[in-house]
Each structure stands twice: as C-alpha cells, then as structure tokens.
C-alpha cells in the first residue's frame, strides 16, 4: 500500500501512514468541519492494512495539543482497529500517546483511550 502523508493544517493533524514499515503517526490539532470526512479514508486504509499479511510490530505514535469531541470518537475507532487486530489476529500493535507533562487534559484523554486497550499496548509517554 502506498504511504499516506498529510501536512498539518490549523485544524487537522499531520498524518503519516507508512504501511511498508508499519509505522504510523498523527501530530497536531484536530477539529475539522467534518471529522468523518477527514478520518474516514485513514480508517479505511488502516483497516485494509490490518487485513494484510504484515506481521512485524505496528507502531502508532500520537501527539495532540487539542482535539474536539467528534475527533475523539473517530480516534477511538482507529485505536479499536488496532486492539481488534491484536486480539483476533495476534498482531503486535503499540500505541504511543505523547503528551506534555503539564497537559492534564491530554493525559486524561490518554487514560480514557488506554482503558479500553487490553491486547494492544498503549503507552503514555511524557514529551521531554
């Protein structure tokens, strides 16, 4: 699958989906006019990738300064794909949630998301 790269905008994060190496990242802010329109194609691509034969570890780095509630829902759906792939297909999936030490909001969001991850590794990583 061809690599997906999107530059950050004021309202959408930088995205890099490197399917060849199983390395994914999102960084920035997210409050697009239509969260499903922005994240839908990414969700679909990730789903397709997780159905492939790729068997090396899959690393997903996430670093947000802000996202709205619609984005939170679609992010949860993305992480759920990684959790399901780890549970039902035995894939090794790792989510690294990067946040600033003094950003209580992003720490709490990280805890919210990680509470549903049993098979995917979800690491809370302080930026420094």
């Amino acid at each position: 699958m061809e690599k997906i790269v999107r530059e950050a905008t004021d309202r959408t994060p930088a995205v890099s989906f490197d399917f060849e190496n199983g390395i994914f990242s999102m960084k920035g802010e997210s409050y697009p006019e239509d969260a499903s329109a922005f994240f839908g194609p990414l969700h679909q691509a990730l789903e397709e990738f997780l159905d492939s034969e790729f068997d090396a570890p899959i690393i997903f780095d996430v670093e947000f300064a802000y996202f709205n509630s619609s984005s939170a829902k679609v992010l949860m759906n993305l992480f759920q794909l990684l959790e399901d792939a780890a549970e039902s297909k035995g894939k090794k999936t790792v989510i690294n949630w990067h946040y600033n030490e003094d950003d209580d909001t992003m720490l709490e969001f990280g805890e919210d998301f990680s509470s549903d991850m049993e098979h995917a590794a979800f690491n809370l990583c302080i930026l420094g």
Partner: protein
C-alpha cells in the same frame, strides 16, 4: 443617535464582562475565526494556558452544536456544501471565571430528549463524567444526534461549575435553548 444607540449596546455588553458576542448565522469559518481571536486575546492577556485550552474547547463544542442542531438554519450548494445555523455565541469574564453561553432555536419535539441528556450530565461529579465519557466514546454514534451527548459531556468536563441551561417556549413549533458553562 446612531452612535449613542450602539455605544449603549456595547456598554451593556462590556458591563457584563463580555469579550465576544455574535448573533446570527454561524458558519464553520466563523467558528474557526472567532476561536483564533479568542485564543489570541486570552494569550495576550497572559491567561493560564490550561484555562485558555478549556475555554477554547467549550467554545468549539458549543458553536458546533449551533451549526449542527439549530432549528433556524439554511443549507445550500454554492457550489460547495454550506450549512449555517442561527444562534448566539457569547464569551465573557465574570467573578474571576470565564464563561461561554450559546443559544439557538430548537424544535419543541426535541426539547425533552435534550433536557434529559443535559440533566444526566449536570447530575454527575468529576468521576461520573469521566466514566460516562468513556462509555460514550465506545458507543456507535446515535442516529440523528451526530454525537451531541459526547459534546455536552466534554463541555461539563472542562467547566469548573455545573453547566446551566434553560428553555424558553416561543410558539407551537419552537423553543429557545440556552447553555452556559463557567471555566
């Protein structure tokens, strides 16, 4: 006369500590532009960055609710799809707290469902809000609502006091709805 009328209008807003006030049709572009100005103003005033983020977050959820759910709305393809909802957006500072108040018309048939959602959220403490948020995060979006509940929880989580809301019946079809959050 003209200047006096609008000076009095401005003064009455200033006296209530209002930093921004908007009334009319709200587009997504207005959300973005007002949100940027709000962040800039709060940053220049040396507001605590965490407070600025909370106010901004409440602002975004509230304004998106107007755009999505106001019963007074227009939509068109000109040529891209545009959705405008009418309402009011007010951000101010009162008694050492920021507040965001938004209001818009809703259909009478939607009042009870919205009221019960708001009452559930208002009745929860910090831990309760956290648990309810996690529950809603996992749920598939409810039909029709495009995810309003999670937005209301987000507002309540960022607020430093229980959210305030009110409904004013207007006629056989419409009710005026208002939501205020202090941060």
């Amino acid at each position: 006369m003209l200047a006096k009328e609008y000076y009095n209008f401005k003064k009455s807003l200033d006296e209530k500590g209002i930093m921004f006030s908007f009334s009319g049709f709200v587009s997504d572009g207005i959300l973005f532009a007002l949100g940027e100005s709000l962040k800039q103003k709060m940053t220049i005033d040396a507001t605590d960055p965490n407070t600025t983020k909370k106010v901004f977050s409440v602002f975004v959820e509230q304004v998106q609710n107007i755009i999505r759910y106001s019963a007074e709305r227009v939509e068109g393809e000109i040529p891209t799809k545009v959705e405008l909802g009418s309402g009011t957006i007010t951000v101010g500072y009162e008694g050492e707290k920021f507040f965001v108040v938004c209001s818009n018309m809703i259909d009478n048939t939607d009042v009870e469902q919205l009221r019960s959602r708001l009452e559930i959220v208002r009745g929860l403490d910090k831990e309760g809000l956290k648990a309810y948020y996690r529950e809603k995060l996992k749920e598939p979006p409810e039909e029709q609502s495009k995810g309003a509940t999670i937005g209301i929880i987000e507002i309540a989580k960022r607020a430093s006091e229980p959210i305030e809301f009110d409904f004013e019946p207007i006629d056989n079809n419409s009710t005026f709805f208002c939501l205020k959050a202090y941060i």
